[in-house]
């Protein structure tokens, strides 16, 4: 897991939790397209923001090789954010895999609003948890599938282990792999709580022009652009397959 911090200079507006940027990792033609990354925090005073990512292909390989002081081509903030959606009496923030970034950022934001949060972070084993998650803030729960740290099981197993009354007026905010998001949605349905998910999708333009990053939604218009109508959606609006 890598974290990259960068300064947003000049007129760039401040990112909100859930929003993302696109990065052109090199001037070469392969890898060609910009890659989307969700913001994982924002330091208002110094205008420093960051992204968290895994090395999972040539583009992230190049990004991981950047050193302090390198200039990078970033467009953002893009997309909607968690901020516009209804908050609960209790906000349950669920992050898995590379979905930790926006969840950390959202927790940081909610803490400044004194809005109560429970952060649930999960991955296969302790080694995959980001260092700052292991250090842990008091309101967070770690879940590992192999039991090497914290709760043994998935984030959804943990949610099911919660007593019903802890979910009164709760709202779920989730970011992670699609199967995790779908399971969170099903959990929310079963427990009658609202659930908002931040979707990761392959993108070309990132600004709403190409119609390449769509997901299936319910209703009259069968598709929504993740880059523009999202990346945060009410899980009940998505046509889960």
């Amino acid at each position: 897991m890598y974290e990259m911090q960068f300064v947003m200079e000049g007129a760039a507006s401040q990112p909100l939790p859930g929003q993302f940027c696109t990065i052109r990792v090199s001037e070469e033609t392969s890898p060609l397209l910009r890659r989307p990354f969700a913001f994982s925090n924002f330091d208002f005073k110094n205008r420093i923001t960051s992204i968290i990512y895994k090395k999972c292909g040539p583009a992230t390989e190049i990004l991981a090789g950047k050193t302090s002081g390198d200039l990078i081509d970033v467009i953002g903030p893009l997309g909607n954010s968690f901020v516009g959606f209804k908050k609960g009496k209790k906000n349950v923030l669920v992050g898995g895999g590379t979905g930790f970034g926006p969840i950390f950022f959202w927790e940081q934001y909610l803490n400044t609003q004194n809005s109560p949060t429970l952060m649930v972070l999960g991955c296969r084993s302790k080694a995959q948890l980001p260092a700052n998650a292991v250090a842990g803030s008091s309101g967070s729960v770690l879940c590992t599938e192999d039991g090497s740290a914290g709760f043994k099981g998935t984030v959804v197993d943990y949610l099911f282990s919660l007593k019903k009354d802890r979910l009164d007026d709760a709202v779920l905010f989730c970011c992670g792999p699609i199967p995790m998001l779908k399971a969170c949605h099903e959990f929310a349905l079963e427990n009658g709580v609202e659930c908002y998910v931040s979707i990761e999708q392959v993108m070309a333009c990132g600004v709403g022009a190409c119609m390449g990053c769509v997901i299936k939604i319910k209703g009259e218009t069968p598709y929504a652009r993740v880059c523009t109508e999202g990346p945060v959606f009410n899980s009940a609006a998505i046509l889960w397959t």
């Binding site: 910009r34 467009i75 990132g206 709403g208 990053c213 769509v214």
Partner: protein
């Protein structure tokens, strides 16, 4: 230097265009570039009725390129006129809707409706989309159908008609000649090439429709060879498209015989690319003492 490009009875202010499907309806890029660098915006394809587009995933990156199967997702002609034209008409660029259809009547109906809009500069007729079952490329691969379609559209408009050609044919020059005989004012080439990507682990194609349209720098040498061939087969202007990422790439097309160019996939990589392409063309032409784009055509026989 005179940058204007004559097409039919009109002039484009400069040779730079943004290719249909890569620039939405313009407003998406509002904060990211200076529109005065762009001579023409070729809009997302417009069909008679709205189209939701193809199943997902719709795109995948390939070596120096990308494969897409969007399926002409668009808002339809009525919403295009009501919601998109007001914004577009405020821009300093020529607005050239890309018109698509499944039948001759559909192309005609879209064009007729657009004729009522004073802010449209001309039309790019899409007879080359590889990602729809009916129409699109089926028109563009048959010279007789192309000539008939262009004739029908020619009768209905005095605005410039640009025919967008598919490279997925045996001889693109034949199709270009048919478009010229029908009364086209220019041809743009090339649209995407049919391509496929297979996910070996899942043992299936990445795109649900199996194939998609390949674009980006990977197709530039093909586009260039086709522009070279077409520009020698017809006397109407040729607009070069395919993998343009910088001034030098655009100059290859102009030297090959194109009068203007369109940047497509490059807009995704760098939304401000068109300004850089224009600057590259200008500095080369100044150095070579060219007084207009046509001057570049004398170098390569």
């Amino acid at each position: 230097m005179d940058l204007t490009i004559p097409i039919g009875t009109k002039n484009l202010l400069n040779p730079i265009g943004v290719a249909s499907g890569t620039f939405g309806y313009g407003s998406e890029y509002e904060k990211l570039l200076d529109f005065s660098c762009i001579g023409a915006i070729y809009t997302k394809a417009v069909t008679l009725s709205p189209r939701p587009g193809n199943d997902i995933p719709r795109m995948v990156e390939t070596p120096s390129g990308m494969l897409n199967s969007i399926g002409l997702a668009n808002v339809g002609v009525e919403r295009f006129i009501a919601e998109k034209i007001p914004y577009l008409s405020e821009l300093p660029c020529a607005i050239i809707p890309n018109v698509a259809g499944s039948t001759r009547d559909e192309y005609v109906a879209v064009l007729d409706r657009m004729e009522e809009c004073p802010d449209i500069w001309g039309y790019e007729i899409n007879i080359s989309c590889p990602n729809v079952k009916h129409g699109g490329m089926a028109f563009g691969t048959d010279p007789i159908l192309v000539e008939q379609l262009v004739l029908s559209l020619r009768e209905r408009t005095r605005r410039p008609l640009i025919i967008k050609l598919t490279p997925n044919v045996t001889d693109i020059a034949d199709i270009a000649r048919a478009a010229e005989s029908g009364g086209a004012n220019a041809v743009s080439c090339i649209n995407t090439l049919i391509g496929m990507v297979i996910d070996v682990q899942k043992k299936c194609t990445v795109l649900p429709g199996k194939t998609g349209g390949l674009s980006g720098p990977a197709i530039r040498p093909i586009g260039l060879a086709m522009v070279y061939s077409v520009s020698r087969a017809v006397s109407i202007p040729v607009i070069g498209i395919g993998g343009i990422m910088c001034g030098n790439d655009a100059l290859q097309y102009l030297l090959a015989g194109a009068w203007a160019i369109q940047v497509g996939t490059g807009n995704f990589v760098d939304p401000a690319i068109t300004g850089k392409v224009l600057k590259g063309i200008l500095s080369f032409c100044e150095r070579e003492k060219c007084t207009c784009i046509k001057d570049l055509h004398r170098f390569i026989p």
